[in-house]
Assembly symmetry: C2
Homo-oligomer: 713 residues x 2
């Protein structure tokens, strides 16, 4: 299937052309309004003409081949039109009809599968069903079913959305301009991943804005994100499903199994994708990135406002948002002191006082001084641009900015309003033309600036850009068999997929994780013999059984053994205790281990996400994980830089880093372990279900995994 | 001084009436445009008339008394005009001139003090200097110096702002309507606290919106907030200075010593004040509260949107914002299933599907079903209202809402847009008329709903509405003498204001805090004698000295003493260690204490804020406070409910509440201790500087303060 036949067709035919309000009529209205009359045909057997345009009775009657079919007729007719159109050369189709997978019935699902098979047979790239179509502003192709007010929308943001309503809202928003706006509909034939891939390659698209509820082709998604990351093309994503309520909604909406939402965070982190929280942030982050003529070279932020109150808002919200206001250099301070009135205080964020905003030269000089400061990477001008200009400050400010933005030394610059006014369109255009985006109000504005800085701070070379996802085909099969249960201690169901602790440790040892010395005794005597042979001073005995997980709670761990005799005694006690608590447990023996010195307790775990493969989690043990949820995650395989970052992102990092004069933990060894475990997980992605190394002790030098549990699929 | 002469004057005189752009001319333009010609006079000795209005040469020449002087002439002329005006009956004045305290010179500060004294002498309430004046929309009095586009601004929000620019932005914002809009300027004569007090009493003001950088009359501020709390009149505050940068800015702007910003949080908590983060949130929270015809009766939130994407955004942002979407009752689900199309999923947040929005009856029925659910207290309708209506859904929806909102069972309801479009003013008006505010975009909207729910959830009877602030006069004196240093262990400067541990414990014991048994031995023998007399089994010896704070670090605490002999030995060791580490320390003896059993370690502290008096802090000890900053604060004195809440707000609350099967700590005893300490702090507000009880052990039953440090002013 060739998606360009769908998105960049030479000729299109609208089947079901109509006068009426609704999909057929409104699509015709859009096409007539925006397209070249030579590029489309209307089909309606019952009419001579529609909206003044000649109608053909059928696709077959068309005088020449067409590449795209826009089918505005009901579901029952779609397949026939596809067949007829394919004969006339069509290799793309937009299908508005609903009644397919989205209704949640078996019938609907079957119809969609049939449609998919037919498209494969006919080699047709199909948008929908149950979509609103698309608008291609690059070539002005407009098979889109909703009417919006006319305005200049041609720009550089490529939009793909699983929600038709959100595409409409974006097209209504005055603040964004598009290369493409695509409503993917059910998206099981041509998928959002296909569209995304197209936009990553498309040279007319500078920034991609994506609304998604989940992915049906995780492998393709990851490959596409990788391509974008290497090209440094920004992708801004609004993905719902962060909350339990949102996740349930998305699942019921798309009907697909969605992995944990946190895994998407890990995915986006890996590829430098900007994740946003609502539509306004999506629109404005994407548009700002498209308008800026260059990106910041460092993360130093400065804001220039005209009053103390506004400057205070910038300072506080900046801190809440995690922005960094560097102090101005001495040179900058001196330059500003020359221009600013005597009562002004020179500070970053800067209150340049209202008087400056009526003087092109002075305002320009303030911008120049701030932009030339080496610590400043990006600048916001705090000013509420009104629809009806009652104050001419904006005239002077925009003139000054026009001069400034031409200079070599100009830094990326944005306008930051403080109230949600309507904005004067003429000035917005003028400012955008010189590369200065006008942001939404402050709370959004500072977040958007943070998004831009996060994007520019991302370096693909710091990340391992591989993922251990099975192919998308295998994935679908797997997700349906994803029914096995986790091992449970209580109850009858013994699950044989868990390895014992000693097996688990032997496995991770192979990947270079130090687990101390241990061996499994099969009988009482062996316990003593192992103690002696391994030359242990102090040992621990633990039951080795895939059935017994919380060993300490049931007296199956005995510490501080200092002689072969004690080891033998421990063997007996453990066996007795195990048999008291469990009915016929699968006991492989009793592990005799060197007793590890206590270090900082860390948890290192892997969860194999059904969609995106193994995801590695690290955190400090106990309350840190359980009460403060203080963990960080990354998708395997993980680079050394990523592993370092995972550790540094922890709120409890200070504890590892030598808290209260305690010795600093061996962060290198821990990072190294994370990388190795991630590589192991990636390698064993087909077989691994879950791995818990809890705890792993981190010492001043080295680490030691004290307990491990490996569970197979 | 009578502030009503300033804000509700019968006749006003503008001194410095002019044709030109600027304060004098623009104020005249505003007055001519908005006021009744009989209510004002223009004064200008050089002109017969200004802007077509007759001019009088001087105030004395006016044909009748005036109540308010609006002085638009330079600083040097102000005092004379005040004297002349006072003779003509003026008891209020607005002074635009700058050059006073705000310039930061000694000269400016002196001029302001002189102005203040003169106003006291003449009994004049003065707004400014360095202000933009005010607009009184109740009586249409408009001595305001900035020109805005004409629109209907009369409403129920009273605004006071320390920043003139922010008042202007609020007046420009299309979404707010006012009773009063006041730019307080320097605000040292008539203060923001005075204006606030006026608005709390004012019956035309339903909601107060306040921008402040700090308070110059903390006692008056607290008294006014208390009055508003008891009246249940909402006050929405934007206070800058949350961040270090913001605090520095605010300090340089207002020149006043500002207490810790966190103390303002405690102040606002006490009185149910809504604190917001930026101007847009201030505007829209205030306006929403003014438009709603009733307030929610419970905190259950429901949103109704027209698409899955929008519903997903509501779900996720709702959780981020801390809103609670209760599940619908069975009855509600059934009622919704009747109305919604078969493919819809009934859920809260609700995707009512786009089709419903074109049917008045069905949309009304959906609203009815949701509003009648007893778990729902407030409802948002997700819909992006456009300026140019290209889709008639809003017609049907607003008709439906008009019917719904008339009903007895109607719940508070708001419109929630997803993109920052311009909003159709006609529909905004229509919706506001029926009590449905149109909010800004989603991130703000959900926060505003949370603000409303926080306000309605506040119950004054749960709080101790007293504060232990010294009078505002005393305060000013105190803040300038606030120079004494904290005791430091190193270095020469011994500070005598710290009590020793035993003195500190004896003090808090008086207020009912259990500190175990202890006594101070003055010599070796006494140490043994105390051990025997107090019948101790296991004791701790600690140096008792105001000079040695971190006692353990220097070998001045010895644990586990089990005989009189050991106690005597410990006495010697401690004295020796103290003398090794400190040169000539002030040692009062060695405490012999019963050794407390280990409990959950809690820190209980008091800081006496220079503005708002003693502020009590509680948190779990060690990493919880130091790494996770997990503390809560409240202003003394504290009610039992407030104390309970402080404990429950801690992230680490689970540890107190019986984490991992550990016994539950005695929360009652801890709450009780917080209340007692707060009462003690309030009682001793003049003398106390700081109190640290660290740690206080909390047991399954009871508590024990193990160490305490009381520092006097």
């Amino acid at each position: 299937m060739d998606i360009s036949k769908l998105l960049k067709p030479k000729k299109i035919a609208v089947i079901g052309a109509s006068e009426k309000e609704g999909f057929g009529g409104d699509t015709c209205r859009n096409i007539i309004r925006y397209m070249n009359p030579e590029d489309y045909y209307f089909i309606n057997p019952k009419r001579e003409q529609v909206q003044g345009v000649r109608c053909y009775p059928s696709i077959s009657d068309l005088p020449e081949p067409v590449e795209l079919l826009v089918i505005a007729t009901p579901m029952s007719t779609v397949e026939d039109f596809l067949r007829e159109g394919a004969k006339k050369g069509a290799r793309g189709a937009v299908v508005f009809a609903s009644g397919y997978g989205e209704v949640g019935t078996e019938e609907g699902a079957q119809a969609e599968l049939r449609l998919k098979a037919l498209c494969q047979e006919l080699d047709i790239a199909l948008m929908g069903p149950n979509c609103a179509g698309y608008a291609n502003y690059v070539d002005m192709i407009y098979p889109y079913a909703f009417i919006s007010n006319e305005r200049d929308r041609k720009g550089a943001v490529g939009v793909v959305s699983q929600s038709g309503q959100l595409v409409l809202s974006m097209m209504e928003a005055p603040s964004i301009r598009f290369s493409y706006a695509i409503s993917s509909g059910n998206g099981k034939i041509t998928t959002i991943e296909d569209y995304l891939d197209f936009l990553v390659d498309d040279e007319d698209t500078q920034v991609i804005a994506l609304y998604m509820e989940g992915s049906k082709q995780p492998a393709k998604l990851a490959a596409t994100l990788k391509k974008a990351a290497l090209k440094r093309k920004p992708i801004v994503v609004l993905k719902t499903g962060r909350s339990a309520k949102g996740q349930a909604l998305a699942a019921s909406h798309t009907g697909s199994l969605s992995g944990s939402d946190k895994v998407f965070d890990a995915l986006f982190d890996k590829f430098g994708v900007i994740r946003v929280d609502d539509l306004e942030e999506l629109i404005s982050t994407a548009q700002a990135l498209a308008v800026l003529k260059k990106l910041p070279e460092n993360n130093g932020f400065s804001s220039i406002s005209l009053s103390g109150g506004e400057t205070g808002i910038c300072a506080d919200l900046g801190q809440i948002t995690g922005l960094n206001y560097p102090d101005f250099s001495e040179k900058t301070v001196k330059a500003l002191e020359v221009v600013l009135p005597s009562y002004a205080t020179v500070n970053n964020p800067l209150d340049s006082t209202a008087s400056l905003s009526y003087d092109i030269n002075k305002f320009g000089s303030v911008c120049e001084a701030v932009m030339k400061d080496p610590a400043v990477g990006i600048v916001a001008i705090g000013y509420t641009l009104l629809e009806e200009i009652s104050d001419n400050a904006i005239y002077y400010m925009s003139e000054a900015l026009e001069r400034v933005m031409k200079e070599e030394w100009a830094k990326p610059c944005l306008m930051l309003p403080f109230a949600e006014n309507t904005r004067n369109r003429e000035y917005v255009k003028k400012l955008e033309r010189i590369g200065v985006p006008v942001l939404p109000t402050s709370r959004y504005a500072l977040k958007i600036i943070k998004n831009i800085l996060d994007f520019t701070g991302y370096r693909p070379e710091d990340h391992n850009l591989e993922v251990a996802i099975l192919s998308d085909l295998t994935m679908t099969q797997r997700s349906s068999s994803e029914k096995s249960k986790l091992p449970q201690e209580e109850g009858a169901g013994r699950v044989s997929t868990a390895l014992t602790e000693s097996e688990s440790k032997m496995l991770i040892q192979k990947y270079g994780i130090d687990c101390g010395i241990f061996e499994v005794a099969r009988n009482r005597e062996e316990a003593g013999e192992i103690f002696t042979r391994l030359k242990l001073k102090k040992a621990v005995a633990k039951v080795d059984s895939p059935d017994i997980l919380h060993k300490s709670d049931v007296g199956c761990v005995i510490l501080n053994l200092n002689s072969p005799e004690k080891a033998m005694e421990a063997y007996d006690t453990i066996l007795k205790n195990a048999k008291t608590h469990f009915e016929n447990p699968d006991i492989r023996g009793v592990q005799i281990c060197s007793m590890a010195e206590k270090g900082t307790e860390v948890i290192l775990g892997v969860n194999n996400d059904p969609q995106f493969g193994p995801c590695v989690l690290v955190g400090l043990g106990g309350i840190f994980v359980e009460i403060f949820k203080d963990t960080s995650m990354a998708l395997a395989p993980i680079s050394r830089k990523e592993a370092d970052n995972m550790i540094r992102k922890l709120k409890s990092f200070r504890i590892l880093d030598g808290y209260r004069g305690a010795p600093k933990s061996d962060l290198d060894a821990l990072s190294d372990a994370i990388v190795r475990i991630s590589e192991m997980a990636a390698e064993r992605a087909k077989e691994l279900r879950e791995l818990d190394i809890n705890p792993i002790f981190v010492y001043e030098e080295g680490i030691c995994a004290v307990d491990a549990l490996y569970i197979k699929q």
